[in-house]
């Protein structure tokens, strides 16, 4: 039996009837046509499905959509404003922090959330904040450099 829920996603409100066993990641991708959130493992190991839910990063594959009822959610589609990239996104572009790009949406959201809470993180704080987001391509170095650069930009 489907349940009625309300989600605020990227500052837009949605009323939805969802099956109680659907994860937030599935609902974002399949029902709301927001496929920027990626599913790399489906069991909370890889972080590709990271979204910001009420100010905290979560693996959206581990959150049931019904659990998120009433929440405010930011997905990768809600980070840039029009054609203007968020400073974290711009830094990823500028520093070569992207290769295959499959981890990138989750990485950007984890990085953004870190800088929202701690605008001047140390390198070890950056690495700690990204440790739940796996990347097989980059060796993380350019991602860390990008986040450090974005923290400077965010301060300006």
């Amino acid at each position: 039996m489907k349940k009625l829920i309300t989600l605020t996603i990227n500052k837009r409100s949605y009323e939805l009837a969802v099956a109680p066993n659907k994860t937030l990641a599935q609902v974002l991708r399949e029902e709301l046509n927001l496929p920027g959130t990626k599913i790399g493992c489906g069991i909370g190991d890889c972080g590709a499905c990271t979204v910001i839910l009420d100010g905290r990063t979560v693996n959206s594959c581990l959150v049931l959509a019904v659990q998120a009822n009433g929440s405010e959610i930011t997905t990768i589609e809600g980070v840039a404003e029009g054609q203007n990239l968020h400073p974290v996104q711009q830094a990823f572009v500028d520093h070569g922090a992207i290769q295959c790009g499959f981890c990138t949406p989750g990485m950007v959201l984890s990085a953004k959330n870190l800088l929202d809470r701690n605008p001047r993180p140390t390198e070890s704080q950056i690495r700690e904040a990204l440790s739940g987001n796996l990347c097989r391509c980059t060796g993380y170095q350019k991602i860390v450099e990008a986040v450090r650069a974005a923290s400077g930009a965010a301060k300006k």
């Binding site: 496929p35 599913i39 493992c41 069991i43 499959f102 097989r136």
Partner: protein, 782 residues
């Protein structure tokens, strides 16, 4: 070195904005009207005879459109190398590993498809599973494939020089064994595909692949379709590293289901299925005997290797050759003998993974060379430098080092790591180690025998003159080929980076063998460069006619026409262009005739401004059997120095610093080159310290998750000091060659050698867990 404006820079990736905003579409993001969802029935047993398959209940389930087994799919064999086609879409007589595919279902949604899968009943006669390579070749072991009664699927025996005679002339000879573990590619995007069969009999497959071309050929062959009716499109791909370089049953089943239902069918692996499908790094059992002279001169190497191949051949026929042919270089070694045996076992098939076939061999040998240097009382860097190959040298197995910055790499990491200050002088528990390696820049031959071009490219200039459309079937899988090829096109044609718009990864755009064996920059780069030069010539020809100036007195650079002999009156052409573009914004002004104006004038003259390019390697060395695996137009090389801390109580190893120098010939994009180096080192670090696919005694993968199969996180990887060496490869476009795989070669042995320097123990079995180091330390104390 020549000055360039687009290449050898740090331009942003062409796909960066799409990827950073979530706008980039990967295969599983695609959806089609009226699309069905597919699921696979995979074997729960590692080795069994199939007695009966009953799909009747599944077929009756509401919402199920089609159920297929070998009966519907047929038994056309496929694989990677035609010499070892040993797979069918579905098993008919036997299952050979846990995960082997038996049936597929298409239904209205995934839940229904999975429910139908659970309703298919299969009766098996269980056979003893062969899970150990050495058990599988024991006398009397059951055959996994009838054609290979002793379970040896492939064997290689090569000798260059005379190894036994050479050992007699050596002052020091030693033998060591080395074992790695089966690895997973661990790309973040699970394989996914969407098959669309239309009512005109055209099949289009969207798939997460490294080689649209090989998938196209396999689909046509197995499904019995004309190749021209099969189109394979590669959306953005979330990493490949080797396992996605061949067609798989997921793709074939989706196509079959779409053909039979007339509806689009999507199929996507779960992460667990990625581990089952595997096709990643083999397990290698190497025994190496190396002989040297007192002064450190390398004389001979004997290499015996057993490869645990898993249930099918996959890329293994190439892997077994690479496990021999990627030793020797980058050192002058006159005598080399190799005996390789690839063994079928009832485990997921192994195939290609970054550094194909050579990574374990390299780890084994570079550690042995370190031991030998120690025995001879030589510094490991000096020992390597004494034997190093240089530009123009040819290996005993006929690899021509047409460029080789190996010495420069080794000297660079020595200097930048502070080697001399640190080697042998660090406190107990801290250590430093060095290693070298090399890799091909593209396989010299396609995987099937053919005179085919390896890459083609087409450039079409838009009719308004403003955009250069580049079409290539090459595969951007994250490594950055779209960016590299865009840069090459812009540089060769003389336009701005933003003027070029690349479309890639589609078999309709031409031939390209794909993203494997580090071939896209060199091979596709050549084709793109040629296409760009062709278009440039065509435009200049038109200008030459209009302006009455010889072609050789003109050039195109930075988006404008250069008149080498001074000012030219082109006002007539400009007036014509402006008249053509009445009402458009940005009428051209200034002292230069722009590329856009020239291209528009060329269009008005010719109607179509299209240029093509095609590349295949010229004659390569080696006439012996197996010479096709390893001969390449060019070789990249790397040296690395690694510093580690070993906890002398627990055996825990931490990698503190890595210094890497790689000779990529010429860096088309410096940021991308560094990214490939850093990514290679990360994968090597994972393989060295913790990656291992584990099995229970039934042949089931017991760690098919990223929680239990650990790849490096941001907390495991140190920052890497990356040094780019440019040796100007004569066979590469603008002098460029590989970086994507050569950079992983020295990582594992450099770590192993650093562990020895820190703790005095030699570890000859990967991964280097704390337990393994602890036991070695304990043994050392006795």
């Amino acid at each position: 070195m020549k000055k360039y404006s687009i290449i050898n820079t740090r331009l942003q990736r062409v796909d960066a904005r799409a990827k950073v905003t979530g706008d980039a579409r990967y295969t599983d993001d695609l959806s089609m009207p009226d699309m069905l969802y597919g699921a696979l029935l995979q074997s729960p047993l590692a080795h069994a005879r199939i007695e009966k398959i009953d799909t009747s209940k599944a077929k009756k389930l509401f919402g199920v459109s089609e159920v297929v087994t070998a009966e519907e799919a047929g038994l056309v064999k496929f694989g990677v190398s035609p010499a070892r086609y040993d797979e069918t879409i579905f098993c008919s007589d036997k299952v050979r590993y846990i995960g082997d595919e038996i049936a597929a279902v298409a239904a209205v949604d995934l839940e229904t498809a999975l429910e139908a899968i659970s309703m298919i009943k299969v009766d098996y006669e269980e056979l003893p599973p062969l899970l150990d390579a050495f058990d599988a070749i024991r006398e009397g072991a059951p055959a996994i494939h009838d054609d290979f009664p002793n379970n040896i699927g492939a064997e290689v025996h090569q000798e260059f020089g005379d190894v036994e005679e050479a050992f007699k002339t050596c002052d020091y000879v030693r033998t060591d064994k080395f074992i790695n573990k089966k690895q997973d590619g661990a790309f973040l995007e699970p394989q996914s595909c969407v098959a669309v069969y239309d009512f005109n009999g055209n099949l289009t497959l969207y798939t997460s692949t490294q080689s649209p071309h090989y998938v196209q050929r396999t689909l046509a062959m197995v499904l019995g379709l004309p190749i021209g009716k099969v189109r394979v499109i590669k959306p953005y791909v979330g990493g490949g590293f080797g396992p996605k370089a061949a067609a798989n049953t997921l793709e074939l089943a989706a196509c079959l289901l779409s053909i039979r239902t007339g509806r689009p069918v999507k199929m996507t692996f779960t992460r667990e299925q990625v581990f089952w499908h595997s096709r990643a790094r083999h397990q290698f059992f190497h025994e190496l005997t190396t002989g040297v002279k007192k002064d450190g001169t390398l004389v001979a190497l004997k290499n015996t290797c057993y490869l645990d191949g898993g249930a099918y051949s996959s890329f293994g026929i190439a892997t077994i050759y690479y496990a021999g042919s990627l030793l020797g270089a980058p050192y002058k070694l006159p005598n080399m003998k190799y005996d390789g045996y690839r063994i079928y076992t009832n485990k997921p098939a192994n195939g290609a993974q970054r550094g194909h076939g050579g990574v374990a061999a390299r780890a084994a040998w570079e550690q042995q060379l370190d031991i030998i240097a120690g025995e001879l009382g030589m510094d490991p860097v000096d020992f390597r430098l004494k034997n190093i190959m240089q530009k123009g040298d040819v290996t005993c197995n006929d690899f021509n080092m047409s460029s080789l910055g190996m010495k420069e790499c080794l000297e660079a990491v020595k200097n930048d790591s502070g080697w001399t200050k640190k080697k042998g002088k660090l406190p107990k528990g801290k250590g430093i180690g060095v290693a070298c390696g090399f890799f091909v820049s593209g396989a010299g031959f396609p995987i099937y025998r053919s005179e085919t071009f390896h890459a083609t490219a087409m450039i079409k200039v838009s009719e308004d003159g403003g955009t250069v459309n580049l079409y290539t079937a090459s595969a951007e899988i994250g490594q950055g080929s779209d960016t590299i090829l865009t840069q090459i096109a812009a540089e060769a044609l003389g336009v701005r980076y933003d003027d070029v718009r690349i479309s890639s990864g589609d078999t309709d755009f031409g031939i390209d063998l794909g993203a494997y064996s580090s071939r896209q920059t060199l091979m596709s780069g050549h084709a793109v460069k040629q296409a760009a030069e062709n278009v440039k010539q065509q435009i200049l020809e038109v200008l030459s006619g209009k302006l009455k100036i010889p072609i050789q007195d003109m050039d195109i650079k930075g988006g404008v026409i250069i008149f080498k002999k001074g000012k030219v009156d082109f006002s007539g052409l400009r007036a014509n262009y402006i008249k053509e573009h009445r009402g458009w914004t940005d009428p051209p002004a200034g002292d230069y005739l722009t590329f856009t104006e020239a291209a528009r004038i060329a269009y008005l003259e010719k109607g179509v401004v299209v240029g093509g390019g095609a590349y295949k390697p010229g004659e390569l060395g080696g006439k012996y059997k197996g010479a096709a695996v390893g001969t390449s137009p060019a070789y990249g090389c790397s040296a690395q120095v690694v510093e580690v801390t070993v906890d002398m109580e627990t055996g825990k190893v931490t990698v503190d610093n890595m210094t890497d120098a790689h000779d990529c010939g010429f860096a088309i994009n410096r940021t991308n080159v560094e990214g490939q180096m850093q990514g290679s080192l990360s994968m090597g670090l994972g393989e060295a310290l913790f990656e291992e696919i584990k099995f229970d005694n039934k042949g089931r993968v017991i760690n098919p998750t990223f929680g239990e199969y650990r790849i490096p996180t941001s907390l495991d990887m140190p920052n890497v000091k990356t040094i780019i060496i440019e040796s100007d490869e004569p066979n590469g476009p603008f002098g460029a060659k590989e970086v994507g795989e050569g950079a992983i070669m020295p990582t594992i042995p450099a770590i192993l050698n650093a562990i020895y320097d820190a703790a005095g123990v030699r570890i000859s079995e990967l991964p280097v867990t704390s337990e393994r180091v602890f036991m070695a330390l304990k043994k050392n104390k006795k």
